[in-house]
Amino acid sequence: MSDREIDRQLVARAQRGDKRAFELLVEKYQRKLARLLSRFIRDPAEVEDVTQEAFIKAYRALPAFRGDSAFYTWLYRIGINTAKNYLMAMGRRAPTSTEVEADEAEGFEEGEQLRDINTPESVLLSKEIAETVNSTIEQLPEELRTAIQMREIEGMSYEDIAKAMNCPIGTVRSRIFRAREAIAEQLRPLLGTRKDKRW
């Protein structure tokens, strides 16, 4: 099942009244949406508020979502409109539509400017998480490290990874899972003990 089809199933369930399904979409897209909205709004706390508002608006508009576009495209458009309305209400200038488009948002991954807008606290935490993830990846056996990087960084399918690594698809699936579990194991103390934990 493709990523888009997974979203479609979650949306269909949410449309039938399953709020838990919508929460899974929130889990999945919260950081991507916040990353997009941080191009409009500099303050991290405000970014979170607008991101939250965008998700609520999306939930309310869910009955009208027909799946003509991908869910995240639709969500990002709602997010951009929410950010613009927020800035206008605050008497601030909203970027024009040509400055940030939803189509651009789809391919938007990361930029150095994002790191500049984070507060020292969030920068520290983000750095801590990133360092934990990266250091764990560096310590992984080579076959696990290669598999997870091909998947997450290169966005390759299991089939392509299997060809590249000359191994069965089932082995790729196992390697990626083991890599994720190894990283998750290192993250658990960090995520579970901090009072001001941010993730």
Binding site: E109, I129, I176
Partner: protein, 169 residues
């Protein structure tokens, strides 16, 4: 379970297994935690931005206050499509019946045929004498004719005309 969640988020699970797993994600806390952590790892490998830990909980809290979406639309388009098709079929059927019933009646024209030089034989129409009570019978029962209500006075006029012919004979 977790290995299947890992495959699910990579879009590498078959449809049946994926549907079952999505079902269980809403019930199993450990599965949900894995879904959450794996997505965090994925995002962290691409970009370090994080949100506060309470973000999802705050959204969930606001969702609880939202009315449930009990009038599905959008992706639930199959039942709507069938409803629309059946409604369209019903309208079409009613329209057809209405058109057949209320369309102006035309006298049937004989089919046009090629003119031949052959002189047609003149045939005298057969004259069948009607019983004397026929006109009275038709007049009394013209109300039961399906055309009577649609054609107004036409049947009645025809009957009177017929009677007029009788009287001229």
């Amino acid at each position: 379970m977790k290995d299947r969640i890992s495959a699910l988020m990579d879009g590498e699970l078959d449809d049946t297994s994926a549907s079952q797993l999505i079902d269980s994600l809403g019930r199993d806390g450990e599965a949900l935690q894995a879904w959450r952590t794996y997505h965090l790892i994925s995002d962290a490998m691409r970009d370090g931005r994080v949100l506060s830990d309470g973000f999802t909980a705050r959204v969930a809290s606001r969702l609880m206050a939202e009315p449930a979406l009990l009038a599905p639309a959008g992706l639930q388009s199959e039942p709507r499509k069938w409803f629309a098709l059946s409604a369209a079929a019903s309208v079409a059927a009613v329209s057809l019946v209405g058109w057949l019933a209320f369309a102006p009646q035309r006298e049937a024209r004989p089919p046009q045929v090629a003119q031949a030089s052959v002189t047609p034989l003149k045939k005298q129409p057969a004259i069948v004498p009607l019983p004397s009570a026929t006109n009275d019978y038709l007049l009394a029962h013209q109300g039961f004719s399906p055309r009577a209500s649609l054609q107004g006075m036409a049947p009645y006029v025809r009957t009177v005309s017929d009677q007029s012919q009788e009287s001229t004979k």
